[in-house]
């Protein structure tokens, strides 16, 4: 890849050399081609698909969405077409996009994940896998099940030999120590960690005396979670040497820069795409302009650049700033 003129936005996530650090968050962008008429998907760092499971899933009963102050709760429940249909119907279309595709996969057990990665691991057109260890809306195999460092480490160690594509572990923020989980992922052989998935939340309908969702709880996303997500992202970035992909309430380029400043190597745009389908592309264009305006030539020099101030320790130790 030749160095582009202007700001150098290139980042590396394991074996993936990405043109820039802006990715779409799983579950907010379809399988990848649905928004191709409004977003230049080939220009994004990568497109992360909706989570694919072994069998098709119909998803949770309504209601699935509840808006809250500065955020939204969702209870989608991993609705997806399943492995066979993904491979047969979606993958050929994704290959034609000329975009970097990361397949999000989810399973209820380590064995299910093994079958998924074994089936897709050598498929042409998949540059990486994001393992969804953090869905808050399923009865089995969700965030709680995977919030166990040894289980994560062993599972990733079993997935690692199945593919040469990047392995990214997407973590839940609702854990005692995201640093412990991130370290377990690194130990298990992950190429990167995504911090974070949605936060478990509730919304109450006082008139109906029930949840505003079909289930008691959902996953909270949007600007409301950005400060929380930044802190988790920072905690993970301090703990590991592999890249952290920041996610949680990123609505614009400034938000993206904040995540990179606290140690993220790349970022995901999620809920913002529901509001502005072009959001990921806007974040990318804004990022380039913001760095140019600050005289920054290379994105990676901004990474972890947040100073703790003269009397405080560096937020990211200097030796860990480069992925």
């Amino acid at each position: 890849m030749s160095a582009p003129r202007g700001v150098d936005l290139r980042v590396r996530i394991g074996p993936m050399a990405l043109a820039n650090p802006v990715l779409t968050a799983s579950g907010t962008f379809g399988y990848g081609d649905e928004y191709a008429h409004v977003v230049d998907v080939a220009g994004l760092g990568a497109v992360i698909t909706k989570t694919v499971t072994l069998e098709p899933r119909a998803g949770n009963p309504p209601r699935r969405i509840a808006e809250t102050a500065g955020g939204m709760l969702n209870s989608i429940g991993l609705e997806n077409v399943g492995l066979a249909a993904f491979r047969r119907d979606k993958l050929p279309r994704l290959r034609r996009l000329d975009a970097t595709i990361v397949a999000s996969v989810g399973g209820e057990t380590p064995a299910e994940l093994e079958r998924l990665v074994a089936a897709l691991g050598r498929e042409r057109g998949i540059a990486g896998f994001e393992i969804n260890f953090s869905c808050p809306n399923v009865a089995r195999g969700g965030a709680r099940y995977w919030a166990a460092p040894r289980r994560l480490e062993r599972t990733l160690a079993r997935l690692r030999p199945l593919t040469r594509a990047a392995l990214i572990a997407k973590l839940s923020p609702d854990v005692t120590s995201i640093a412990d989980l991130a370290r377990a992922c690194e130990q298990g052989g992950a190429d990167a960690v995504t911090a974070v998935n949605t936060f478990v939340g509730m919304a109450v309908d006082l008139e109906q005396r029930g949840s505003r969702l079909g289930r008691a709880t959902g996953g909270l996303s949007g600007p409301a979670i950005k400060p929380l997500a930044l802190a988790r992202c920072h905690e993970a970035a301090r703990a590991i040497r592999i890249p952290v992909i920041g996610s949680g309430g990123i609505m614009n380029a400034r938000d993206a820069l904040e995540f990179i400043a606290v140690g993220a190597t790349a970022v995901q745009v999620g809920t913002a795409s529901f509001i502005h389908p072009r959001a990921a592309q806007d974040v990318l264009e804004g990022l380039r302009e913001a760095l140019e305006a600050r005289g920054v030539r290379r994105l990676l020099s901004w990474r972890g650049a947040l100073s703790g101030g003269p009397s405080r320790p560096e937020l990211i130790p200097r030796e860990r700033r480069r992925a």
């Binding site: 649905e34 309504p62 699935r64 249909a85 809920t271 072009r278």
Partner: protein, 294 residues
């Protein structure tokens, strides 16, 4: 069952408020101008209205059915009928003439007004909005329609004057019902439908919009009599375009079987659930499981 073709591609544009006025019973009529390039919506289709964060505490856009559409020079003037009940619609009600907002659309697919047979439009309360647009479109196509309008009370027959004026121009007939008998026939609009339908020469095609309980009643009536009915549904939505999967409606057993044989595109729902935004918001009565519709 034919799977509806996806409508023309949507776009997201900046629009300008022309004005708003009060239509009684706390209903507002909003008009906005959208620029050239925005696809012309069909009756029954909806758009997503998004107010800038400085003017609204709402994060998500609000799906809203189009109640009127006409060309204005280069662009379109769209009309909406709504009640300010929540964060988003209250912020919308505060927008004055000249205010700017974003519009994404047109979305979903509308009423199949070209089906042969006498169109019978059945409105419940503020569900009248897309049917005002439908009556207008039928009139422009030179087709006469029957317009049934039901509400709890006389004052909730909102935008009645507009509907009457449209029908006068078109030569259609208006039939009213209220639960308390304060206007038109006393009772439910489905009883009115039964009465009106009995006097009409078949074939009939029903197009309806209103509360889901009313639409379920219209659907059961139509299924029992073999009269095709097309019902405009509502749902809470995030994106409105099919990617968030937030607006499922339960498919009927027959529709599930049809889906198994011929699955739709990925922005549609799945075997169990139809997506209101991409497959609707207008559904044929036999497509949904009315026992499970909320």
């Amino acid at each position: 069952m034919p799977v509806a073709a996806l409508s023309a591609r949507w776009t997201q544009v900046r629009a300008r408020v022309v004005g708003q006025d009060d239509r009684g019973a706390n209903h507002h009529w909003l008009e906005i101008d959208v620029p050239r390039g925005f696809g012309a919506p069909a009756p029954g289709q909806f758009v997503q209205l998004l107010i800038d964060p400085t003017g609204s505490a709402a994060l998500l856009p609000r799906p809203m059915s189009v109640a009127a559409c006409r060309r204005t020079g280069p662009g379109l003037r769209l009309g909406f009928l709504y009640v300010p009940v929540g964060t988003g619609t209250r912020a919308l009600a505060a927008l004055g003439a000249g205010a700017s907002l974003e519009v994404l659309g047109p979305l979903g697919h509308g009423f199949p007004l070209d089906q042969p047979g006498t169109p019978v439009l059945v409105a419940g309360g503020r569900g009248v909005a897309p049917l005002l647009f439908a009556a207008d479109a039928l009139g422009q196509a030179g087709r006469r329609c029957e317009f049934l309008f039901g509400a709890r009370r006389r004052d909730q027959l909102v935008a009645l004057a507009a509907a009457r004026a449209a029908l006068r121009r078109l030569g259609g007939r208006m039939h009213l019902s209220t639960d308390d008998g304060s206007a038109g026939r006393r009772g439910h609009v489905v009883a009115l439908l039964e009465q009106v339908a009995a006097r009409l020469e078949p074939p009939l095609v029903v197009h309806a919009c209103g509360p889901h309980a009313m639409l379920a009643a219209v659907a059961r009536w139509s299924l029992a009599r073999g009269v095709p009915a097309h019902l405009a549904m509502e749902s809470i939505m995030a994106c409105g375009t099919g990617v968030c999967r937030g607006c499922p409606l339960p498919r009927s057993a027959r529709a599930r079987a049809a889906y198994r044989r011929a699955p739709g595109p990925s922005l549609f729902g799945n075997e169990e659930w139809a997506m209101c935004c991409t497959e609707g918001p207008v559904f044929e009565a036999a497509e949904l499981d009315w026992e499970r519709v909320e």
